[in-house]
């Protein structure tokens, strides 16, 4: 039997801007759909985390999404737990789309589309997204920590640059800043995660300098 202990919840000051942004834009429906999609995504992470024997730490709600700290996971458990979030989002997308088709509810279609975007975006092999974590754990298991660090840095830099470039192109062509904003938040999150463990007094040789948290980026 798995004992469920709710982890601590913390809301960052930047996240307090979300109600202001939603209020200005009047995008209440989008905010509600995002909340449902993020909740299911994180529940997928949490369920897999507990099944793999890990422990959940603090859940942090920030401006661009939700991050859940974890501990006590093997590499295999980390891959499973990382992929559980996008899988949960895909399942939600399929169920919502069928619900919308059967009952003719447009909001269900929009929830399905949003969950699909969540799943695909979080599976990108970019740190700190779920796909990046899974790639990191897989490379670390097969080739060691140093190779995983190098792979993480290269993939994050390459995909981050490509997303920013295409986001800028789309902004110029269509006036839509969504992809550029998502790319900027992604690169900012990667830099922040990289700096989170900088300055430690003693770092064992080969120890991963990464934050141990799963994210659901609502971008």
């Amino acid at each position: 039997m798995i004992r469920i202990t709710p982890p601590a919840l913390r809301v960052t000051p930047a996240a307090a801007l979300l109600p202001a942004i939603i209020f200005i834009l009047g995008a209440w429906e989008l905010a509600l759909l995002c909340a449902v999609a993020v909740l299911i995504h994180e529940l997928g992470h949490y369920a897999a985390l507990r099944l793999c024997g890990g422990t959940a730490g603090e859940i942090r709600i920030c401006l661009t999404g939700v991050a859940m700290e974890y501990d006590n996971l093997s590499y295999g458990g980390e891959i499973i737990t990382a992929m559980a979030g996008p899988v949960a989002s895909l399942v939600l997308a399929l169920i919502s789309s069928l619900f919308g088709r059967i009952f003719g509810v447009d909001s269900a279609y929009r929830l399905a589309g949003l969950s699909l975007i969540f799943a695909v975006f979080n599976m990108l092999p970019v740190f700190p997204l779920d796909g990046g974590r899974a790639v990191f754990a897989a490379v670390a298991y097969l080739f060691g920590i140093d190779a995983a660090e190098t792979t993480r840095s290269v993939l994050t830099a390459a995909f981050g640059t490509a997303l920013i470039f295409f986001g800028a192109v789309l902004l110029r062509v269509s006036g839509n800043p969504t992809l550029l904003l998502a790319a900027a938040c992604l690169v900012g999150g990667a830099v922040r995660a990289r700096l989170r463990y900088s300055g430690a007094a003693v770092i064992p040789r080969g120890a991963p300098r990464v934050s141990r948290e799963f994210r659901a980026d609502a971008t």
């Binding site: 960052t12 000051p13 930047a14 307090a16 801007l17 109600p19 202001a20 942004i21 209020f23 200005i24 834009l25 009047g26 995008a27 429906e29 989008l30 759909l33 024997g53 890990g54 501990d71 006590n72 996971l73 093997s74 590499y75 997308a93 399929l94 919502s96 789309s97 069928l98 919308g100 088709r101 447009d106 269900a108 279609y109 929009r110 929830l111 399905a112 589309g113 949003l114 699909l116 975007i117 670390a140 298991y141 060691g144 920590i145 789309l170 062509v173 269509s174 006036g175 839509n176 969504t178 989170r196 463990y197 300055g199 430690a200 003693v202 064992p204 080969g206 120890a207 991963p208 141990r212």
Partner: protein, 166 residues
């Protein structure tokens, strides 16, 4: 390297995030957090005030964003593609077009006005060259009766306060 494959070993030998709130560094961190919260609270109040004081401005911002990105239609198209109501590739294409279109679809007027050359304004003066309709000829008796009635009622005036409602 092999020992890092064990989750418990990694947990014990991974540097922890600097989460200490004790001492001078902890006070500075807490002060920054309070200042961030204060700024966020002020931003919320300003947003609420702006929404009610300048409703047209906030509506214009929302219209501008929805003009460039109709997220409702894009998300709904993806959902319909997932449900099988339509082909997924078709739904994906429609979502992309709605979200990132640069040219409007067929049938819609272009966003920018067409180039207008220096053409003279059309002549709106009525054409009075057309022939007037022929009036029926009046007999002498009818004309005499009309003239007599005109003399009899020359000093007739409408009473004051007569309504002219039709």
């Amino acid at each position: 390297m092999d020992e890092y494959r064990d989750g418990r070993y990694r947990t014990a030998h991974t540097p922890r995030r600097r989460a200490s709130y004790a001492g001078a560094r902890g006070d500075a961190r807490e002060g920054r957090r309070v200042s961030k919260l204060t700024i966020a609270a002020a931003a919320i109040l300003i947003a609420v005030a702006a929404r009610y004081v300048f409703p047209n401005l906030s509506a214009a911002v929302g219209d501008k964003l929805s003009e460039s990105f109709n997220y409702r239609a894009a998300l709904a198209a993806l959902g319909e593609g997932l449900s099988g109501e339509r082909a997924f590739t078709e739904a994906l294409g429609e979502a992309w077009t709605v979200a990132f279109r640069s040219t409007p679809p067929e049938g819609e007027p272009p966003r920018e006005p067409a180039h207008i050359e220096n053409t003279p304004e059309p002549d709106v003066t009525p054409d009075i060259s057309a022939e007037l309709p022929e009036l029926p000829e009046l007999s002498d008796a009818a004309l005499s009766a009309f003239m007599a009635a005109s003399r009899d009622y020359a000093d007739y005036m409408m009473p004051a306060g007569t309504p002219y409602a039709i």
